[in-house]
Amino acid sequence: MNTTDHTTRLHLRTLLCALGFGIATLAHGADMGHDHAMHDHSMHDHAMHAAAPQAASMENHEHHMQAMNQTGYQRAVVRYTLPSLQLTDSRGQPVDVAQLLDTDRPLAVNFIFTSCTTICPIMSATFAQAQRQMGVDARDIQWISISIDPEYDTPERLSAYAQQLDAGANWHFLTGDLDSIIAVQKAFAVYRGDKMNHAPTTLLRAGRHQPWVRLDGLTSSAELVQEYRQLAAATH
């Protein structure tokens, strides 16, 4: 399949999504055959290419392709330079992002907002379940969820959200002023302008000076744990 095809289909999909699936009511009733509908492509779909980091280098492309074919997410190994930014945690305390990330402890980062109904609850449940699956190992990791709707997600709302998830002390929920939150999204190449366009992205890092493993798409918790173990094994 050539690139033009991708682009055309991507645009059409975006358009159709924007129509809110009103189109589904287009042709009630007529069963015109469903041969192509026999496969569920949702998580393999090329729309996910929109989520690929554009400025980031992609190492390990072979693995990335393989992963994409077998699972619902794409994997890339990338390096990011983070500006010095001040965010706020769910207790209302200031957090310097560069300082938070300047650690030898492994990191797992995702981007959520508390009023998101579709993918964020699943991403948060995946973090929670991966932590349970890892048991004591999870305590070595700093889990970080950054709100992309900072003016609604006040520290109080994030704190309530964390409580619902039974989040432990090593799971940080961060908000901040709008400009800083946009800057941190741009630094991790996840900024989409409108929060309703956000895509599920998880970032893992084994330690200081290590590259990030970027997972675009939703992982199962077993996949997330597996990705982390692979990463930990490769760097120790």
């Binding site: 055309t8 289909r9 059409l12 999909r13 975006t14 159709l16 999504c17 924007a18 809110g20 699936f21 009103g22 189109i23 589904a24 009511t25 042709a27 009630h28 009733g29 007529a30 069963d31 015109m32 055959g33 469903h34 041969d35 192509h36 509908a37 026999m38 569920d40 492509h41 949702s42 998580m43 779909d45 090329h46 729309a47 996910m48 929109a50 619902g72 009023s115 109904t117 579709t118 993918i119 609850p121 699943i122 449940a125 995946t126 379940q129 709707d149 003016e151 609604y152 006040t154 709008l178 302008g193 409108d194 929060k195 309703m196 366009n197 895509a199 939703l218 199962s220 918790s221 077993a222």
Partner: protein, 547 residues
């Protein structure tokens, strides 16, 4: 039936055959309705909206193959939304599941030819109770294909599945009131506490928009009559917009009765815009009770708990937002322990703000100006001698501020004086003072580029600038409604309209006096913060505070 191959030679013929076949079976009927009880529908609704099963326990499921989830977060409404008409987020499409979609075969070659992604799932046989059970428990769709891993695999009893099926058949099934074959009815509510000038400014913008909208729709209606089959659903959405002015009178306690009478006389699809300075709760409650969207009225005091409800969407929390911003500023700047004098006149909007700020700042006094009093310099000096406060807030309009500069004289002068920008729409009319700060949820001078579209549109419509915030709010309400109705096309569901607005407000090219308007599912106040703007300093030193 398998799709015939579209070769270059036979392509058009095949397409034509397909089109004729499609026409031949339209409209297809849903499977006959099995006997269901009201209790079953209610149980299905609980499951759909709250994630509660028939035996009262919380819904349980596995998502993305192994992520166990439990509770209200799993309720169908989270993704498929209250309307059951689906949504999309981050390029992930959630299909509609309301009964008149779910229990009908779906086929869409037009889409399928271009998309082999999720949308291809639109082509599938009608669901039956059996295939619905398999979909909910095992994630296999009615074609026998595995569904998206995002769809939870639920742990549900047969009774639960029958209940949810019964509810889905009712969901978004009844035609919404306020819509006829050729007309869509809107009402705008005017409460007696808004001034005549404000009311006229709002109505002028709305009426001009409706005239222009309908001039455009005339051609669309004609096109609808001759629309090719694949565009019918697009053109059939167009109707003439009709605006009704619902002018309320008397005390707020009587408004519910007035609104009901107006609605009985002329049901409307949406309450659009509207204006009120004091209590709006009766209008809010009416909308909730009638399940009637109430979109972006221009208010000083929107009800405080709109996020517990569904149908009303507001610009901001009004004067409460200003009070909350000052409370947050107070706390964050270490003013705890300082005293605050609040000066206000009677009114539901001002009293709500005074109470809210007082709860956050216990020290000091609240002073209500008596109805007959006109404060002058001597009045302010006397007040300040009696109540010595570190800071002062003025919940007052411009006519009460003539002598207020006297507050800055003498030994008892407060460290800062704050005033409500909502009550003082024109900062140019304020007295020159060194310590005056505006609590200002609006754009600062120099940021008003966002109003450029309104200015151009108003000029073309022959509307002079006046009551700019009222005009801008009215224009925002009508343009957003116009765009949202375009998005929902012929899915004329009130719930779906609200869902689209939750979804599209952030990305809209809006015209507004607010720096930023943002919504999401469940959010009901679009503006989230306010500037604390020290008028004697440069505007760019104003601090943006999100409480």
């Amino acid at each position: 039936m398998r799709r015939p191959p579209l070769t270059a030679a036979g392509g058009w013929l095949a397409a034509l055959t397909a089109a004729l076949l499609l026409l031949a079976v339209l409209p297809s009927k849903a499977a006959p309705l099995p006997d269901v009880s009201a209790e079953q529908i209610a149980a299905g609704k609980r499951l759909y909206r709250e994630g509660r099963t028939g035996d009262g326990t919380l819904l349980r499921a596995a998502v993305r193959s192994d992520v166990a989830m439990r509770g209200a977060g799993l309720a169908c409404t989270n993704c498929h939304r209250r309307s059951g008409l689906g949504s999309s987020e981050g390029g992930i499409g959630i299909p509609p599941i309301a009964g008149n979609t779910l229990f009908m075969a779906q086929s869409n070659n037009l889409v399928r030819n271009y998309s082999q992604g999720e949308l291809s799932n639109i082509s599938r046989p009608a669901y039956t109770l059996q295939t619905l059970a398999r979909a909910l428990r095992e994630g296999i769709n009615s074609s026998g294909a595995p569904m998206s891993p995002l769809m939870p695999r639920f742990d549900l009893s047969d009774a639960d599945i029958a209940a949810v099926a019964a509810y889905l058949r009712t969901l978004s099934a009844a035609p919404a009131e306020g819509i006829t074959e050729h007309e869509m009815h809107f009402a705008t509510v005017l409460t007696p506490d808004a001034t005549p000038a404000e009311r006229e400014a709002m109505l002028e913008v709305m009426k001009a928009y409706f005239v222009r909208k309908n001039a455009g729709t005339r051609g669309e209606t004609r096109r609808a009559e001759r629309a090719p089959f694949h565009k019918e659903w697009t053109y059939s959405a167009y109707r003439k917009w009709v605006l009704h002015e619902w002018t309320l009178s008397g005390p707020p306690a009587t408004w519910a009765g007035q609104l009901d009478a107006l609605y009985r006389k002329q049901p409307v699809f949406v309450l659009l815009g509207g204006i009120g300075r004091g209590d709006w709760q009766p209008v809010h409650d009416f909308c909730e009770r009638r399940e009637l969207p109430c979109l972006f009225p221009h208010l000083n005091a929107p009800p405080p708990h709109a996020e517990r409800d569904f149908y009303s969407v507001y610009f901001s929390r009004g004067l409460r937002l200003e009070a909350e911003a000052l409370a947050a500023h107070w706390r964050r700047n270490g003013h705890d322990g300082e005293t605050l004098l609040q000066v206000y006149r009677a009114g539901a909007d001002r009293e709500a703000a005074v109470a809210l700020l007082r709860a956050a700042v216990p020290g000091g006094e609240d002073h209500r100006i008596a109805a007959g009093d006109t404060p002058d310099a001597a009045y302010w000096k006397r007040l300040l001698r009696r109540v010595q406060a570190d800071r002062v807030v003025l919940w007052l309009e411009a006519q009460d501020l003539d002598g207020v500069a006297a507050l800055e004289d003498g030994a008892h002068a407060p460290a800062a004086i704050y005033a409500s920008s909502t009550l003082l729409p024109d900062p140019a009319l304020l007295p020159a003072m060194q310590r005056l700060h505006l609590l200002h949820p609006y754009q600062l001078p120099g940021q008003e580029r966002q109003l450029a579209r309104l200015r151009v549109w108003a000029k073309q419509a022959g509307i002079q600038p006046r009551e700019l915030r009222v005009q801008a709010d009215a224009y925002f309400a009508v343009t957003l409604a116009g765009e949202a109705l375009m998005h929902i096309r012929s899915n004329l569901s009130r719930d779906y309209l609200i869902e689209r607005i939750e979804h599209m407000t952030d990305s809209m090219l809006y015209t507004s006096t607010y720096p930023r308007l943002s919504l999401a599912p469940g959010q009901r106040y679009a503006a989230k913060g306010a500037y604390i703007w020290h008028l004697a300093a440069d505007a760019d030193t104003a601090q943006w505070v999100v409480p």
